[in-house]
Amino acid sequence: MREREFLNVRKQAGLVFLLLVMLLLLVAGATVFVQAGGSRLSSIKLNRDQITTDALAAAKNALLAYTISRDDYSGSSRPGEFPCPTTVSPDDPTYGKANTSCSSIPKIGRLPWRTLGIQEPLDAYGEPLWYALSGNFKPSTTVAINSNSLGQLVVYQGDETTPLVSQAVVVIFAVGPPVAGQNRSAVTALCPTTGTAIAENVCASNYLEAYSGKNNASNSGPYTLGKITDSFNDHAALITTTDFIPKIEDRIASSLSLTLKTYYQTTGFYPYAAYYSDIKKVANNKAASQLEQANCANGVFSGRLPQYINELFDPTLPNLPCTTYSQGWPALGANGALPVWFFKNNWNTTVFYAVAKQYVVGGSKTCVGAGDCLKIEGDITVQDVQAIVILPGIPLTTQLRPTLTPDDVSAGLDIRNYFEDLENRQGWNLSPDNYIYKSTSSTLPSRDRIIVIKN
């Protein structure tokens, strides 16, 4: 009996308890691991998605900042222009710097982050971003960029047969890890994108995939935001024409406002306008020496912003009327004259200008009688306006604007192709009695956008 008790005691000495505790810990640990594992996998995916989204957003912001801050007065760079992609491998000393020429655009390549001046944005897998640019917005001396410019890249969503966006200006891709068949080494091999033998790490098809018949590795698209699967893992961010043109118009308006204010502060008056019909002489994107005249015209209160004002301008004298036209805007410093890119990119065919009759040379600079100053009606009425510029927004499908080929201005003479509001179609180039314009709070990219100039 004592022996049996002894044996029982031995059995209960703790080993069984220890085993039970370990078993319990094992079961608990496994449960926690399974639950936490699922949660952790989900968390890792969310975290990766966030990193990729942040990288795409950083790239998009940097590209927009780059293009809006282009302001080379001599005209070699202009607002609205994006840098070329970089097409060399990450091992190349020039990697990250934009290719100097985009003659073969559209051409897909990597984001030129060095040219943008930012830290290289990488997706959640440490991969550089890729970048496709519409040819209408590349660095060029022959293609103008203005309100009429449209992106040419087409992007589809999933299995949809109609495009999600048919006028994208820029598509930025986060490529993710390689899928089956993609090799990203420096070994030279035939590249389906180029049709030539190049290093695998510069061949787009080793990074970007096709989905539902649309291939992101193609130079000109159409591109796709396909469903993420084992064989497709591209993410993308877009800059569309409807996003972009209003931003560029705001940028142009800032420059015009500054120039007109500087002119007024120096002379005491605003310049007369050029005739509304005076765009035949402005050829597309010619060199400064080739530009012909868009002349300031005496007694013209609304029309185009003149390229030439008068030949005898003296900042110490009151503003002279428009007499002869061999002189451009007065040299009032870098901010005091319209930049060369303004005319070289045909902005003067899309921007309209009106001045109050009391704010040109000889005017009283007071708003007493009807028509002394401009008036803007709409959601909010603005009285006693000294001068305005109007930007037309992107063209509606029914509006024909001049194409971007030289001297094609026929459609540009029909005001209906620019302004939607009746008030803004009247009175151009006729008399100061048509002094009422219309503005709405609409933010549609096609809406007329009136900028009030006031000193």
Binding site: V9, G117, Q119
Partner: protein
């Protein structure tokens, strides 16, 4: 009596050894995770500091000057020279000589290293003196700041003088290199050709884990962010055994775009 015997010393020892081994396995990743979390939080703080600096430029038409811990400068506030040219005396008053910061980027470690002007920018958290702190919860973990001092198109201190960028014009500023040069850790004396950028208008950085270490003990990579290098070079890169600084900058294009948006440019 025997039923209440409990565990033997050997059994408890075995359990303790197992627990110790398990804890040892957990402790190392835990320390790594804490450091990773601090680095990520510090990076976010630096991004917020960048936003605050850009916001300051949108409101004031210039970049702020660094704060300094020297006589004449106020805690956490930007600090200026009292005269044009080399700085012999400092002041907290609006600059009599536009944009002439008490220090821009050429620092003397331990004497006048540029700090983020947290009080001027309204940034938290700060230490008791009002200088911005990073996420390492140490009074030595301050947030550092340097700004370019270039004379551009005849405009002295174009980036820190009120409306200096406007006077110099965006195109002139954009064409000026170097402003501040950011080198990769693999090329400490980089040029425009092999830099990450040579046109950073300002940098914001944290010394991270070794903020209390004497300057002399730092690696060459880390010294580059605190020295008085006349080439205005800074170093950025992933954490390695001899480099753990966290440094960021903003593109000059982003600075321009925000200032255009606020009406301070073109």
């Amino acid at each position: 009596m025997n039923k209440s015997k409990g565990f033997s010393l050997i059994e408890i020892a075995v359990v303790l050894v197992i627990i110790t081994i398990l804890l040892a396995f957990l402790a190392v990743p835990l320390a790594t995770q804490v450091d990773q979390r601090r680095r990520a939080e510090t990076a976010k703080q630096l991004d917020l500091a960048k936003d605050a600096i850009i916001g300051f430029a949108m409101a004031n038409g210039r970049l702020p000057c660094p704060a300094l811990k020297v006589t004449g400068c106020a805690n956490g506030s930007e600090c200026f020279c009292q005269a044009a040219g080399a700085c012999t005396a400092t002041t907290v008053k609006p600059p009599l000589f536009p944009g002439n910061c008490a220090a821009f980027n050429n620092f003397t470690p331990g004497i006048n290293v540029g700090l983020l002007p947290a009080a001027t920018l309204g940034i938290t958290p700060t230490d008791d003196l009002g200088y911005a702190l990073d996420a390492y919860n140490s009074t030595t973990n301050l947030v550092y700041y340097a700004v370019a001092e270039n004379t551009i198109a005849g405009v002295a201190n174009a980036l820190t003088a009120e409306n200096g960028i406007k006077a110099a014009t965006m195109s002139s500023v954009a064409a000026t290199t170097p402003l501040l040069t950011i080198c990769p850790t693999s090329a400490l004396t980089c040029t425009a050709a092999n830099s990450l950028t040579s046109a950073a208008p300002f940098v914001v950085f944290s010394l991270a884990g070794n903020s209390a270490a004497p300057f002399a003990s730092l690696s060459a990579k880390e010294k580059a962010n605190l020295d008085n290098d006349s080439n205005r070079r800074y170093v950025s890169g992933n954490k390695t055994d001899d480099f753990d600084d966290i440094l960021t900058w903003e593109s000059v294009n982003v600075l321009f775009e925000r200032m255009v948006r606020s009406g301070k440019l073109p």
